[in-house]
Amino acid sequence: MTISDIQDQIKASSARAVVEKVIAKAREKADYHALLNLTEERALQRADDVDAGKITGKLAGVPFVVKDNFLAFGAPTTAASKMLEHFDAPLQATAVEKLEAEGAICIGKSNLDAFAHGGSTENSAFGPTKNAFDTERVSGGSSGGSAVVTALDIVPFALGSDTGGSIRQPASFNGVVGVKPTYGMISRYGVVAMASSTDVIGSFTTNVADAELVSSIMAGCDVRDMTTLPDFFQVQTEVKPGQKIGLIADFMTDGVDADVRAKVNQYVDGLKAKGHIIESVNLPMAEYALAIYYILVPAELSSNLARYDGIRYGHRAEAVKTLAELYGRTRDEGFVTENKRRIMIGSYVLSSGFFDAYYLQAQKARTLLINQFNELFKKYDLLIGPVAPTTAFKIGENTADPIKMYLGDIMTVPTSLAGLPAISVPAGKSDVSGLPVGVQLMGPMRSDANLLALARSMETI
């Protein structure tokens, strides 16, 4: 289902009728556990306002879903945690505000790994989201719920956040378009922070044109987020012909399942057939990207999660006797195991005596990685490769082995560390498992429009 399909339905009936139908469908698909809360009352009110002509815009009446780490009205913002289970946001994220300003209607808030820590939504304090194509399997994550509501055609688009692959990997697992824009293209204001230096806001859609539309609405400088860039995003209707594309050889090794590689190769051939030049390239620093990521991101998130202390809002432990006990018990009860694991890693690498060896060393390695990307982009317009090493795995399959889970991020974290735009483009289904596979396009900073244009052309491969 695309945005224009929905707009046709609204024209044929009413925004209210469409929103009611969407909410009914969401309830019908409740078994997938893609949504944590519906924002029904507010959604219907807004639908009525659209029908009455009080709300207009490019997306008037178009329903969407936000990942539940976006501050948004109509339901609590839980970040899929006990910590924020009952937290009602007093304001909305800039991305949500911009979409609402164009008339879009948020109908619910989707499941995620608690505080976006994970790649399967199994770390949600409220239970995992099931894959849209096989309910025995994970949705991917952390933005699993948003990927699944889009794949199930409940809404034409949903928002996610991507710190190290949290949009691209679930998009790949559920066969939808997942966009991680250039760092700073879309405001992070009002989105529960994970890692400040790699967090980005992006979308899930069923086609590329919808991603372009949604991106163009959300993009732009925000005075409330100092890291946003002046608006540079302009939808490119024509694909630049004869682009030089590097296929990252480091991502096409045995560590990646053969059926995934086969799909990537099929799309590489398709791009060649369209007149683009594809060459195999090396990104030697990619080998270290995961190590860099799992030092820097825990460091940043240990800092960003320090505010959840039970003093001002959110969960607060009861019957405590001392301040230390209040902090300890509140955080023990409010965070899931993976949150605590990452906070511990982050606190460790920032500790006096370890900071230089871990954090600083990782920052230096990150610079080398960025330099390698820059070198490649002197010769290539963009890079291509798989999104994840596998298709969606079974629920519970990796939960006992955090390292195995982290390895799933190996091809998405390099661009996150470098702040580069990347898209997961649906590449059909695996010949082996029959599950969706995504192909990843990666470009230099601010090349989002070119990536999307090329991705659009791939829909005909």
């Binding site: 922070a193 505010r307 202390d309 001002r312 301040l323």
Partner: protein, 491 residues
């Protein structure tokens, strides 16, 4: 008790960290009111200060500009690139669980403060660096529970860190006093010490003279007056010398100052020191400055105390008069621009010096002894100039001038001063023949005979009595110098 003799065996070494609250309209990272004074608790707190999920800091550029001005006052370099870092610890008055500060690349680099001492010497205290950071909130404890007030959370501060260049408690006091003058003159802070606009942490150590290394230091935290800095340094030095004299070791620790008991008390030792897990703050891009920008901001600054001193010294004013003027400028800012008034007549050195001294000895004394006095808006330069002219032309005695000045403070409209003095009968008689008659009368008076006798016998002191009699008879109008001259001629 430590005798001076024992104390003299040791060197005192002091370094000071000073927190200055910046006079910005809004907080360092949010748009709410920065002035928490007299506000009800938690009434000036934005979602950013409250550290709601998803909130991001937005750097207040005005704070950067003030830091640049502070840098000039400290004779420091300004960093072309500076960054913010996070200092982590858990406490209920720290909403984010970290303080945003500048650990690795502070905005203000090395500098020096020239501290004028009473004996005319100048002590140079080097500045290690100064950095921008946010203040925390405030906790109030009631029995078994505590209340959090976040009004002050996010208030911009600069922390000025000195080198350990101070070696006496008097110099410590002089240094913090000079910092206060520098920061207020530069317009960096409102300087409200009562409300903690400037707070001092004093690091004190004692070591035997000639020792190769400094002694273990104790840090006395959160002092809010110049006097408490001096007292705390003095107390701490003696305490440490006593420990050393007993052959024991000073513990490196944080201590508090008990103003009522006039002593320091242990708060926490180094072993309890927290690991702040400093980390660059990725939410705030670096502050990038260029020379032109820095120069433009620093050009737009009022004159600093050091420059004023040079100007006032040229008038021939004493140390105490100069420092009194500099302090009074701050004290009565908004009421009267003392230095500007003096400067406006600076070309007439004699007159400028007179007005400066008059201001010190009369005006400032009155303002300080009568704090509720409304001085209105009359032109005090005109008034003091008129007094100067009348005294210079022998028409007004300094005694009457003081009376007249006090009477005219706060009048709605300044009258013609000479006319006023005449009407009030303050003008002194300098007509020799008129005074001569009174002199003769007094000398003939039986009450004066003892004095006249003494004077003839060479006791000059009694002349004052006779002049006094003449002044009395003349209703205070006689020119005393003239009266004295006439007495001497007759005896």
């Amino acid at each position: 008790m430590m005798t001076d003799e024992i104390l003299a065996k040791y060197d005192m070494t002091i370094g000071v960290e000073c927190h200055v609250q910046l006079a910005t309209k809004t907080k360092l990272f949010s748009g709410v009111d920065n002035d928490a004074r007299d506000k009800s608790p938690n009434s000036v707190v934005s979602p950013i200060d409250y550290a709601l999920p998803g909130m991001l800091p937005v750097l207040n550029r005005a704070a950067v500009d003030l830091a640049i001005k502070a840098g000039k006052a400290l004779n420091s370099t300004i960093a072309k690139v500076s960054r913010f870092d996070r200092k982590h610890y858990f406490y209920p008055d720290l909403p984010k669980g970290y303080q945003t500060t500048q650990m690795y690349q502070p905005i203000i680099g090395a500098g020096v403060v020239h501290v004028p001492m009473e004996d005319g010497s100048i002590i140079d205290v080097r500045i290690h660096h100064a950095h921008l950071e946010e203040d925390a909130g405030k906790l109030t404890h009631y029995g078994s529970y505590s209340l959090v007030d976040l009004n002050r959370a996010g208030t911009p501060l600069i922390e000025i860190v000195s080198e350990p260049d101070i070696h006496s408690s008097a110099a410590a006091k002089g240094y913090v006093n000079e910092l206060y003058r520098l920061m207020t003159y530069a317009g960096v802070t409102n300087g409200d010490l009562f409300h903690g606009n400037m707070r001092f942490d004093v690091n004190v150590s004692a070591a035997l003279k000639g020792a190769a290394e400094l002694g273990k230091r104790a840090e006395v935290k959160n002092l809010n007056s110049f006097r408490s800095v001096e007292r705390a340094a003095e107390y701490e030095f003696k305490r440490q010398v006593e420990i050393l004299e007993h052959g024991e070791k000073v513990v490196q620790e944080t201590r508090g100052w008990d103003d009522a008991k006039q002593k320091t008390t242990s708060q926490r030792s180094k072993e309890d020191a927290q690991d702040y897990r400093y980390m660059p703050d990725a939410d705030i891009p670096p502050i990038i400055l260029d020379d032109t920008e820095i120069a433009a901001i620093q050009a737009d600054m009022p004159r600093l105390p050091g420059d004023w001193r040079l100007i006032l010294q040229k008038l021939g004013l004493e140390y105490l008069a100069i420092e009194t003027l500099l302090d009074a400028e701050n004290e009565f800012r908004g009421k009267i621009n003392i230095l500007q008034m003096i400067e406006s007549v600076i070309d007439d050195t004699k007159k400028a010096k007179f007005i400066a001294n008059w201001t010190v000895n009369n005006f400032i004394t009155i303002l300080r002894s009568e704090p509720s006095l409304n001085i209105g808006s009359i032109d005090y330069l005109s008034l003091q100039t008129a007094i100067y002219d009348l005294i210079e032309s022998n028409k007004l005695s300094s005694t009457n001038a003081k009376v007249l000045f006090r009477e005219l403070i706060g009048v709605d409209e300044l009258p013609n001063v000479e006319t006023y003095a005449t009407e009030k009968g303050y003008i002194q008689v300098s007509d020799e023949s008129a005074i001569a008659a009174i002199v003769d009368e007094v000398l003939a008076d039986p009450i004066s005979q003892k004095a006249v006798e003494d004077l003839r016998n060479g006791n000059d002191k009694v002349i004052g009595f006779l002049v006094g009699q003449i002044m009395k008879k003349s209703g205070g109008k006689a020119n005393p110098a003239l009266a004295q001259k006439l007495i001497k001629e007759r005896i």
